[in-house]
């Protein structure tokens, strides 16, 4: 579990992170989104006990990041923005080194290393120099390193950057599998589709602050307003309709009508019943897709709006 309260970090006169508060439960994945320089990496570095917060506090796996740095680092597997591999070592040597540094016994080290190499499809290349690996292989090896000591918390900074789509998919699937093992995972990413596919909770950061956070649906409701439903008709229909409360008209085309619905569970059955009663040739009713990208762009556009100058 990760608990963060008013976490802030100042470099000289610049606040890289300011008053960030978050909670990530075991088995949950939190995706932190934001532009370059939004404070994502600084937040992760504080949660790894590499940087000391200027104010606020955080507990990672129950350990305080300031007073129990060693225990925090032992509980966390980190995938850094740059993969950070030693090019003259082989994959096996590299994982063995980190296994030893995490204090794994020989048998456990060898078992975990072989399992991870197999899992990430690196077994064949395991004895080759890392310098000869492709970008994707390097990223997978870095992820294997982060998992070598089987940490309860994973902090992944851009886990699929520089990967081909197939490898990225593989890594995404593996991250999703890690969730089921009750790990607490934070992913920093620019890839909104990836965040949408993996995250249970999303936080959008801008200039060191969390602009918005919550589950995907919470974020969509908060930023995009009421959900939109598309009623597809078999032909033209020009009838009128008394809309139930909490429902408003959207656009109306010859074969399609759009409604905004505040509480779909109660309003949609009434709406469909009314349409059928007025002999509307209803074929289907579907929720209009609302992507994380829409949420993100809406939030960022709002944040970047010029504020009025006070006189």
């Amino acid at each position: 579990m990760i608990e963060v309260h008013n976490l802030s970090k100042q470099f000289d006169n610049f606040w890289a992170v300011e008053d960030v508060s978050l909670t990530v439960q075991p088995g949950q994945i939190l995706a932190i989104l934001g532009q370059n320089g939004a404070g994502k990496t600084t937040t992760v570095r504080m949660l790894t006990a590499l940087l000391t917060p200027t104010r606020g506090w955080a507990r990672v796996n129950g350990y305080d990041i300031v007073t129990q740095g060693d225990k925090v680092r032992a509980s966390v597997g980190v995938l850094t923005e740059q993969h950070g591999l030693y090019m003259r070592m082989s994959g096996v040597e590299y994982l063995d080194f980190f296994g030893e540094m995490y204090g794994l016994q020989d048998s456990r080290k060898i078992n975990t290393r072989d399992r991870l190499l197999e899992y990430f499809g690196l077994a064949e290349a395991a004895r080759r120099r890392i310098g000869e690996y492709s970008k994707g292989m390097k990223q997978k090896l870095a992820l294997a390193r982060a998992l070598m000591h089987e940490p309860p918390v994973l902090l992944l900074d851009e886990p699929t950057s520089a990967m081909d789509p197939e490898s990225a998919r593989l890594v995404r699937d593996q991250i999703a599998n890690l969730r089921s093992s009750r790990r607490t995972i934070i992913i920093c990413t620019h890839n909104l589709a990836e965040a949408e596919a993996l995250a249970d909770v999303v936080a959008v950061m801008y200039r060191g602050r969390v602009l918005i956070s919550g589950t995907l649906n919470e974020l969509k409701d908060a930023t995009l307003g009421a959900r939109e439903y598309v009623v597809t008709l078999a032909g033209e229909w020009h009838g009128s309709l008394d809309l139930p409360s909490g429902v408003s008209w959207g656009t109306r085309d010859p074969g399609q009508i759009r409604f905004r619905v505040d509480a779909p569970a109660t309003a949609n059955p009434i709406l469909v019943r009314e349409l059928v009663k007025r002999e509307a040739p209803v074929v289907s009713i579907q929720e209009s897709p609302r992507s994380l990208e829409q949420v993100y762009l809406t939030v960022m556009a709002e944040a970047q709006k010029p504020r009025g100058k006070s006189r």
Binding site: G84, L85, F97, M101
Partner: protein, 482 residues
């Protein structure tokens, strides 16, 4: 502890393996290790031939310790490059963050890097020295004394420690390998000067002084390691990306420390200076003990060695008679009193204290302390000299030293204490403060004490020494001469 040190070794072992796979490090190291002893041997023969042609009367055996010292030194210079990029290189390659994310203490990371930095050059140094010694035996030259071997062995280790630990400090403080390499001259130049001094001692074969030099170099190496440990912070490696010479920040920080929160001159004296002086009480106490010991050692050593020296050189009667004659001629002293000005004395004494500061700044106070001991020890030597010349030292001390000494000696002690304080501050862990900030505070403390206490005391001492002490000394010596 053993388990914690095991992680240090694991860290070093990985890097050592990495180095041994890098031909850019390996090739010059091998060439130097194997080739340099032959080159040194050849050069030594040519040097001896050359000096002997001009009546230099130099023999090759005398150059053997110097050659060993030099041969041991060169492989370390190559390893300096590895040490210089130890942290900053990993930062540039992006490998530092996984390393820093390990559940290791800062000291383990630091010692891991230091160990690998020391091990490879020392192996190379000792291999090279071994090859040279083999050549020495084959040529039938005299081997140095076993004690000289011990000194050479300790000096080589101390040089490696000094250079590598300084390089690692630079590596931690730099934000790019390029910047670290540029700063390397701050390591190479002082060490080269140190080597020149040691070489002179080896050629003179002045063993006792050489032991002092060995001790001083080992202490400095130890303090440098301590400095590195004290200021190694993970955050410092990750928190900065560019080197900027921020003169404005430097001046602002220095001024804030110098002012010490005071709003006016009165406040500065009563609060800021008082606080700084309170920091110096412990160094002052230590220096008082050292002063007493130095006077006693100067006196005792002079009692033993001066007669030996004079009788050995046959100068005993001549020198002591000359001294007696000078002391009996009051007119001479009066003449001297006329030629000495207060300004000249002040400038001379201020130069002496500044020399202590200058030497101390580069050696955590160690070399400054050596100068201090030499200065204070002279009092003991003078007392012994007068006794040997047949004069009771009491009147001399009272009339010739005490009047200005009560101002001058405290000034010297306080100035040296401020330098020791700089050294102590640098090697003390300072949470959340950069090395630069710590240095600025220490320098501000030194300047405060120098301007407000040392300089005024030296000025008063200079006036007394120029215009009062000679008069008192003349009267005192008149009594003595009678």
């Amino acid at each position: 502890m053993k388990e914690q040190l095991q992680y240090v070794w694991l860290l070093s072992r990985r890097e050592l393996r990495d180095q041994l796979r890098d031909w850019r490090i390996l090739t010059p190291l091998l060439i130097l290790t194997i080739g340099f002893p032959f080159l040194m041997n050849l050069v030594a023969y040519y040097a001896v031939d050359l000096t002997n042609q001009y009546g230099g009367d130099l023999i090759v055996d005398r150059l053997v310790p110097f050659s060993i010292l030099t041969i041991g030194f060169f492989p370390i210079t190559i390893s300096l490059l590895g040490a210089l990029e130890s942290f900053v290189g990993e930062k540039e390659r992006g490998t530092i963050e996984p390393l820093l994310s390990l559940p290791l203490a800062d000291w383990q990371l630091y010692l891991g890097k230091l160990t690998v930095g020391i091990v490879s050059p020392l192996i190379s140094s000792f291999t090279s020295t071994g090859i040279y010694l083999f050549m020495v035996t084959r040529q039938g030259l005299d081997m140095p004394d076993p004690l000289v071997f011990v000194q050479l062995f300790l000096l080589t280790i101390a040089h490696a420690l000094l250079m590598i630990s300084a390089a690692i400090v630079i590596s931690v403080q730099s934000t790019s390998v390029k910047a670290a390499n540029l700063l390397a001259s701050f390591v190479i130049i002082p060490i080269t000067m140190l080597m020149m001094g040691e070489t002179a001692l080896f050629i003179r074969l002045d063993n006792q002084v050489l032991w002092c030099a060995v001790l001083a170099v080992i202490i400095m190496a130890g303090l440098l390691v301590r400095l590195g440990l004290a200021h190694f912070q993970r955050e410092y490696l990750l928190g900065r990306d560019i080197d900027v010479l921020n003169l404005r920040w430097m001046w602002k920080t220095f001024w804030e420390y110098f002012r010490g929160g005071a709003q006016n001159v009165g406040g500065w004296f009563s609060v800021s200076l008082k606080t700084t002086f309170a920091k110096l009480t412990r160094p002052i106490a230590v220096l008082l003990v050292i002063a007493a010991a130095s006077v006693w050692v100067g006196y005792a050593a002079s009692q033993v060695y001066l007669p030996q020296y004079y009788s050995a050189t046959g100068m005993e009667t001549e020198r002591l008679d000359a001294l007696r004659a000078r002391l009996s001629e009051n007119g001479n002293l009066e003449n001297i009193s006329g030629s000495i000005t207060a300004a000249g004395l002040f400038a001379h004494n201020f130069r002496s204290t500044f020399a202590i500061v200058f030497m101390g700044l580069f050696s955590f106070g160690v070399l400054g302390l050596v100068l201090y001991v030499i200065n204070i020890g002279q009092i003991g030597v003078i007392i012994a000299l007068f006794q040997l010349a047949g004069y009771p030292p009491g009147p001399l001390l009272l009339a010739g030293v005490a009047p200005h000494g009560i101002f001058e000696i405290p000034a010297l002690i306080i100035s040296c204490a401020a330098v020791l304080h700089i050294g102590l501050t640098l090697v003390t862990p300072q949470a959340h403060r950069t090395l630069g900030e710590v240095m600025l505070e220490a320098l501000a403390d030194w300047l405060k004490v120098t301007l407000a206490i040392v300089a005024p005391l030296l000025a008063v001492a200079a006036v007394i020494e120029a215009y009062i002490t000679p008069q008192l000394l003349c009267s005192a010596l008149e009594i003595v001469c009678k």
